[in-house]
Every structure is written in structure tokens, then in C-alpha cells.
Symmetry: D2
Subunit: 302 residues, 4 copies
């Protein structure tokens, strides 16, 4: 079952109330009447739909996806009843689904190596209020990011890493993820390969930025290889991490124009600007529950 659209919702504590927008993500076999069923359910529970996006792989026998944003008084008691009532519909239509309550902010960990551009952009957008998450911890295999982390009051862990000590390193990181109760791992130019074991702990919860327009230049040194190939555009790709290197579901990509005069260091400068905006967008869409992973692709409801 898909971990983003699943039949478990985030818990709401007893007595807690939220009044702003809730997101409901649903996936099920397509058939007539789904929208009618969902919208009537919401209406009968005094929820007012403010945004709705849907997609079907095929109206005849395909898979149906919908993201509904609705406003509703969200007391814990109300939510409990609503989820209980919804479970029946979900069973009837064979739905996987998830409610995202705005009161529950996702907790993220940012992994970074020596290039701090993407980290800086994330911190900036986070401070501007454009990334609704808690940044619980920053982890790096270098010390460079420490002053920035500390200036923002974010716990920083320096964990040296290399191929030979990968398992110990990842054991420490996994422990930290649990200690800090992390929902989302952001690899903001973290230049270490993650093992299948690590990735398996965080399915569709790790967002990476790769410094090329995938599938071009998978793997190491994409800017050098772009320079070597003489491309006229360079790009960056943000994707969920899977066990296939740079092969996970793509969330967002962008490019900039370059020419023969641009050496590798210039490509890196230009590329750095693409990376930071592409990663920030991908993280924002993730936090706004706009993304559904289906197979090796993403549906991004704008």
C-alpha cells in the first residue's frame, strides 16, 4: 500500500481543535459516483470544500485520485466520528486515504554536506512562513552548517560519513530520526549514498535534490558531464528517494540556459540557483499534501 495515501491518518490529541483547512487524499479504483459520495459525506459533516483536484488514469477501469481541501470545525471528537464514518465509505469503494489536519505540523530533518545553498533557501522560506513545518534537526557530514543551524536555534549533529562506516552512520541517523519524531527527511545536497535499509525506513518521506534534469546525468558529477557533453540547458530535479540511485519519483524539475562560455564552475553557480528553487518547491508541495506517489511517478495537484 502506498505510504502517502494510506488508510491511517495522523492522530489528533484529545481536546485539540483546528478550524483551518484540512486535506483529504484518496486513491481508489475509478467508478461513477465517487465525487458524489465524497462531497456528500463532507457536506453532511458540515465541511465546506474550498479546493478539489482529481485525476483518473482512465475513466474506464483506471485508478482515481482526489485531493480535497475543506474547512470544518475540527474538534477531536468530531474528527473521531468523521474518520469512523469515512472508514465505511473507504471500505465500500476500496479506498486508501489520509486526512491531513493543519494543526499537526510535519517535523523535518535536513541533511546537508558542504554546499549550503539549498539549506539556506529552505531556512529562508521557512522563516518567511512559506514552508509550514518544524525543522527539528540538521545533520551533516561536515561542520560548515553548524553556525547557521545554531543561529536558527536548530539542533545540529555532525556525523562524519564515508563508504566504510555507512552502516554505523545510518544507525545513528535512524536513531535521531526516531528521537526527533521526524516525518520528512530533506537531502539538501547531502552527498552520501543511502543504503536500501535506510531508505526502507522512510518510504516516500525522503526528498532529494539532484543537480541535473533527470534522467540525464544520473550519478556523480553531473555538471562536469553536462560541460563535457556541451548541453545548452542545465537543470535540477527533486524526487523521492528509492533504492534505485536517482530513479525515484520525480516531483519537480527546472532548467536554465547556458552556453559554450560557461565553464564547470559557472555551471555550478547557475545550477545552484535552480537546485534551491526546485527543492523548495518540492518540499512546499509535499507539506501542502499536494503530492501522491503512484508507482514510480508523482501526481502533483497544483
Amino acid at each position: 500500500m502506498n505510504s502517502i495515501v494510506q488508510s491511517q491518518s495522523q492522530p489528533i490529541k484529545e481536546g485539540q481543535t483546528t478550524r483551518t483547512t484540512t486535506h483529504l487524499l484518496v486513491k481508489c479504483p475509478d467508478q461513477p459516483g465517487i465525487v458524489s459520495k465524497l462531497s456528500t459525506f463532507l457536506f453532511e459533516h458540515n465541511a465546506n470544500i474550498v479546493e478539489s483536484s482529481q485525476y483518473s488514469t482512465d475513466p474506464e477501469g483506471g485508478i482515481f485520485f482526489i485531493r480535497i481541501a475543506y474547512n470544518c470545525e475540527n474538534s477531536a471528537e468530531k474528527i473521531k466520528q468523521m474518520e469512523k464514518d469515512f472508514a465505511e465509505i473507504a471500505q465500500q469503494y476500496n479506498m486508501t486515504y489520509r486526512f491531513h489536519y493543519p494543526s499537526i505540523r510535519q517535523r523535518s530533518a535536513i541533511f546537508v554536506s558542504s554546499d549550503l545553498n539549498c539549506l539556506m533557501e529552505l531556512l529562508w522560506e521557512w522563516q518567511n512562513g512559506d514552508l509550514q513545518m518544524d525543522i527539528a534537526v540538521i545533520i551533516s557530514n561536515y561542520e560548515f552548517a553548524r553556525p547557521i543551524a545554531e543561529a536558527h536555534g536548530i539542533p545540529f549533529y555532525y556525523i562524519p560519513a564515508n563508504k566504510d562506516i555507512r552502516l554505523q552512520v545510518e544507525a545513528k541517523q535512524i536513531k535521531l530520526m526516531h528521537e526527533y519524531n521526524i516525518d520528512l527527511l530533506i537531502l539538501a545536497r547531502y552527498m552520501q549514498i543511502l543504503t536500501p535499509n535506510f531508505v526502507s525506513h522512510f518510504e516516500n518521506q525522503i526528498i532529494n535534490i539532484h543537480h541535473s534534469f533527470l534522467p540525464a546525468f544520473i550519478g556523480a558529477d553531473p555538471y562536469s558531464r553536462a560541460h563535457q557533453r556541451g548541453v545548452k540547458l542545465i537543470g535540477a530535479t527533486s524526487h523521492y528517494v528509492t533504492n534505485e540511485l536517482d530513479e525515484g519519483p520525480i516531483i519537480e524539475q527546472d532548467v536554465e540556459r547556458v552556453d559554450h562560455r560557461d565553464d564547470i564552475s559557472t555551471l555550478k553557480k547557475i545550477g545552484g540557483k535552480i537546485e534551491r528553487r526546485v527543492l523548495a518547491r518540492a518540499v512546499r508541495w509535499h507539506l501542502e499534501n499536494r503530492i501522491i506517489v503512484e508507482g514510480n511517478k508523482t501526481i502533483v495537484f497544483q
Copy 2:
């Protein structure tokens, strides 16, 4: 009342049946339960929603807009019953609305002067099947477009025009619009100003392409003025025509980068490529019933 979203639908002839996608556009005061009502109505009439986009100016007391695309067996009898049933909902929710049946192709007239680029693009996309309309007639104040029109088997009318004979010219044109039963007038670089009388006959039915990124360079000679001002981007804007020159609801805009070396004739060449793609997109969205005009703005459901 808004002429695009109105309480009158296009007629279906007795016995005629369509099986492909119908579009329903609705506008009404926002209130809870609209989506539920609409989707339940469609479900009960055996219509399967394949696409749905909505927008509310404000969930509290705003105006609600929705475009639903649905598949349904569309016999004339069925349509008659469905529209009758829908009229009750519409009254209850104070809706203006319109059903667009795919069997009924819009009939367009293309107006053009001496620059044939936009006309050529429209003909090309139309031949490729990307513009689902009948091109019923081409009208020009020059003879240049005649061979192209004739090569495509489209009736061509040469109607010389200038300020002094505007009323006679427009009288002829209006007569032709009625003779050819025109739904959509496309001004594909037609360089004559239309009178309020003419425009009033075709509210939200005239699409123009203006050769600047409006509201910059309203009026004549935008490329010369762009050159004079030293802008670094030039653009084009497609909009519905109203009685305020170049002030109608904007449908689509795009730009390209230019620099100090580009003289006016180069700006025209670059701009011509922008114009043709911007106009073609605007016409396509109009034909796909993606546009709702609200006040002096458009809602374009992508």
C-alpha cells in the same frame, strides 16, 4: 448575466446523440453543499465525472465557479430531461450555467489584416485537430489572405475598411456573422478598431491578440514603443474584446527576451512568434470551455 455562463445551453437536435465528453460550467454564490449537489445530480443521471475544477472568490460569501467534464450517453431525449432536472437545482442555488455538448462544434470567423502569421498558426493547429471548431469564414481588409483561405476551402471576404466607412463595414460584417451563424470571432491581427455597437453584438465572443504584454503599450505601435523604452522582454496578450481599447479580460500572455541589438523589425519577428502561440492557446481554451469571464478578469481552468 454573464454570456459565457448563462442559463441557456446550446440546442441539441431531436435524435442526435453524442457519447463523448460534455462540459458543464456553473457560477453561483458560494455555500456548502454545491459540489455534493452537482456530483450527485450527475451520478443519478449516469454521468461519469472525468475532470473537475473549481474556484471560489471567497468560501465565506464569495462567488463559486466550477467546470465539470463528464462522460454520458447524450441522446436528445436524455439531454432534454437532464436539463429540465438541472433547472430546478439552478434555481435553488441561484446558478447561471451552461452545458457544452461535444457534438456541437463552434463556428468561428477569423478577421485578419496584412500580417498572416496568426492566421497561419490557427489554420495549422486546426488542421492538426488541436482546435475543435469550424472555420466558417475569413474576413480581411486586404487581399493577402485570399489564396490561403481558398487553398483551405474557406470562404473569404475582402472588405476594405477605414475610419470613415467603419459603420458600413461593420454592418456588412455583422450580416456575415449572422449568415454564417458565427459563435466566435477571432481577431488574428485585424488592425481596425471596432465600434461599441459591433462589440455589443458579440459579448465575450471576440478574441483579440494584442502585440504587447498588456497593460504595457496599449494602443498602436507597441513594438516601436517597446524599442523606444528599451524593455528587455517583449510580449503578447490575448483577451476578449470590450469597448475599452485593449482593456478586455486577459486570457493569456507570454514574453520573450530581447536585447539592445534588436531593432524594431527584429522585435516584430520575435513578437510574431509569441503572438501566434498566445492566440492559439487562448482560442483552444475558449473552445474547450475552460474560460469563465468574471467582471474584467478570466478564470481559466487548466
Copy 3:
């Protein structure tokens, strides 16, 4: 030696005179004084430089490239003397070079299969005067393009082709290229692989359009593979053809944004628009002598 920048210039017939802009392309080891030498040479031959672009791979020991556009009275006698004088400088500085006289229009052959979009765009820009070449012949392995070719008065050859008869096919094509005295072969979506023998006849004279942003999706069916991979951008690449499939020097690339809703046929439509503008730009730059091939990369002087 590089065939674009070489020590042979196009011949000017006795008595022929051109008064418009000539292009001089030069490549040589970088050293101080080259610009001084070239500009003084031109000044002393009454040539007025109107545009000049240069590039050095490295000012210390690198390779220097320059494109100079100059106005000059170009009688055959004058040209003869100028080229003779220039030969001495070229020897002294170890230059490869080429004079391009505006009076001599390049003669092109367009190869096309069943998708006529790129062909149409080339014909259009050619008629607008934006592609300064003679289109001497159109060759296809289908009959589809015949009416268009004939409507434009361009000789059309239907040469059925497949893997098994490749050598015979290419022999016919090479013969036609010689008969029509072709300088430039444009593969405007010609879906046959060319043999090394064929390519060797036309080094840096064959421009192809590939329907992906290379090096992503080399080879067949790039749109299907782009759909499969779930990319958020699709693109097109124009390049000179070498014996490595889709690996030749890239001239120009561009992309457009797509999303999860776009099926393969939509990707093809969107991609078709990218292809046609990318190919047209590449051909234009080639005709304006803006491109120098160096190794597997291009220098494009804008």
C-alpha cells in the same frame, strides 16, 4: 581539420559582386595580437566590422575562435586579392578559417518521414525570409510531404527506406545530394538511421532534431519513455549528426513543462511545438555562420 572552419572558402564567380555583410570565421592557437592583426587586415582592405564575437578556451595556451561580420565591396577581383593576402596571415598564426559571402546562398535538402510539423515550420520561416537558403529538394520515405513540396515548387523524391535496403537508399540519396549540389542536410523528423558511410560524406553538414532534451532519452520513442519516467519537463535537441546515435554536437535545446495528466499523445503535441522552434533556430544559426564545431561541442556566437 574542422570542416566548418577550414582553409577553403566558397568560390565567387568572376565578375560577381556582393555589397552586404560577409562573415569570416577563424580558429587558431590563442596568442596576443590576433584581434589586432585581423582588424587591421580588414581595415586596410576597406572592410568595416559590424559585428565581432570571440571565444578562447584559455587565454594561456588555449584555442581562439572569432566570427567577424564586415561590410565591404565584394567584387570577385577584390575577394581574390583579399583571400590571397589573408592566406599569409593564416599561415603565420596557424589559422583555419572560412569566408562566407552573402551572395552565395547555401543549398539545403530536407529529409522528412511522416510527421510534417518541422518541415512546415522550416517552409514557413523560409518564406518569411528568416532562413536564407535555397531549399533544393525534399526527400521522404513516405508520400505525405509531396503535396506540400509541390505547392512550394520544390522537387520531391519518395525513397522508401528500411533497414534491409539502407545501402541502396543511401546511394540514391548521396547521388541526389551531389546532383542538387547540397551544402546542408536537414533531418526534419526523418526516422531512419544513417550509416557511417553516409554521414562521412557530410561532416558537420547534417542537422538533426531529436525529440528529447539530450542526453536524456537517446534513441527510439523518447516521449513514451519520458511518460514512463514521469518527467516534469520534456524537450527537444538539435545537433549535428555524427556516427554516434544522438551524440553529435548539440546546437540548441529547449523544454516545456508537462504534468501527470499529459498522456503520450499530449506529450507528442507539446513536444512537436518545441521540436519545430528548436530546429528552426539551429538551421538559422547555421545559415548565419554563427556555429563553430569544436570536438563534440558547438560554439554558437549569438
Copy 4:
């Protein structure tokens, strides 16, 4: 005389030597032989041209502009001699010109109000080494920027400002500009109008960012007016400040796509990202001596 391209160069102190790239900007009536003269001059002074860009408004009787980047041993003695020798050529060809020696970093002052996005971007790019200038002082009519200025060790002056005390405010600011020996004033969203007197002190030395694609939405509240007009693109423009509000020579512009769902606050967010990159580019080009102001337009040599 044009203040950017003028017959005075920045002084080099006795004994000081620079070995990196010098820029020579020249403007003069076009005539044959200029490039020859300049390049021969440089060659004879052991200078190696590494980049050269030129532009003529008209080869027959127009104005000629050139930017030459050259490498040369730059002792103070050498420079003195070279400038003396050059003065003769300048007189002969009626040139205005300027040598920019890399050893002399421009000193900038950043003016900002309450929106710190552009300031942050400038500081970031400056720290990355992409803006080769000294930031000598930050001035604001709010206290918001103080902590950031102080964290970067840059003197900060809080100067409250409004219409009524404009003259006193500007007197203080002009005094500071002289005290800090400022070459470049950057208005990074400084929301006060400058008087002609102030502007006259710093001709072509003040770079502003305006939050619209000029000439659309000149003046106050461009995002509100863009929202009101229903444009489909919003933009930002960086320009030199003159006494005509938002009418100075445009250096750079860019846009982003928006749609009907974007309210004013979303337009501001999207626009903020455009503003910061447009301003940073304009400042970089200014510092790299790529810009020549000619009348009310800029020539930007890329």
C-alpha cells in the same frame, strides 16, 4: 557626457599592481578602423584581449560602443603611460571611455525599507563571491534590517523618512554617501521617492528594483493593480534611477506565470522571488562593467 563611459578613469595608487582582467569601455562615432586601432593599441602595450563585445547603432553614421576585457600587468607606472597614450587615440576618434581596474572594488550602499528579500539575496550572492563589491553601509527607514546588517559587520543607519522631512533625510544620506565614498547605491525595495537633487548627485549610480514589468504598473502598489487587471504574468524590473519615476534606463526584467487563484499576497510572494533575482543580476552586470547607458536605454554586453 555619459557618466558611465567618460574620459576619466578610476585612480590607481602609486606602486599598486593588478594582474587580472581590466575592462575598457569606449563610446564614439562609428567609423572604419576603430577595432583595429584599439586592438593594436592593446597589443602594443602587451595586453591580451580575453573578451570583446561591440555594438553600433548604425555602421553608417551611428554610435559605436565596445567593451574589451584584457589581461595585462597593471603596475601604476604602466597604467599611467597606457592612459596617457590612450588619451591621444580618444581625442582622434572623439571617444568617451573608461578603464576599470579589477583591483579597485566598487563601494556600495544598500537602501532598504521593510521587505528584506532583496537585501538578503544581495548579501547571499556577495558572500558567495558573485558580487565583487564592498558593501560599505546599509540604510533603512525601518529598524528591521539592523540585525542582519550587524551580523554581517556592515554599518547600519536607521533614518526615518517621510514626505515632510525628505530634504533633511536626503541631506543625511548624501553626507553618508560621501563619508563612505560610495560608487553604487542599490535601492533594494526602498519605498521612498528620491528628489531630483538627490538623483543628480548619483547619475547612473543608483540601481532600483521595481516590482512590475515596466512600463506596466508604474508607481505604487503594482501587485494590487496587477491583480485588479487580471494579468497572467507578473514581473520585476531593475533600472537606473532618473528623475522620471520608474522611467530610468532598464537593465533587466523577468516574469513568472500567475493565474486567477493567486491573490495579492500570493502575487507578492511570487514577485518577491522575481525581484531578488532581477536585482542581483542587474547589480552583477553593473559591477562587471557590462552596462553602458545610452540615452534612456542600456546596452548590456553579456
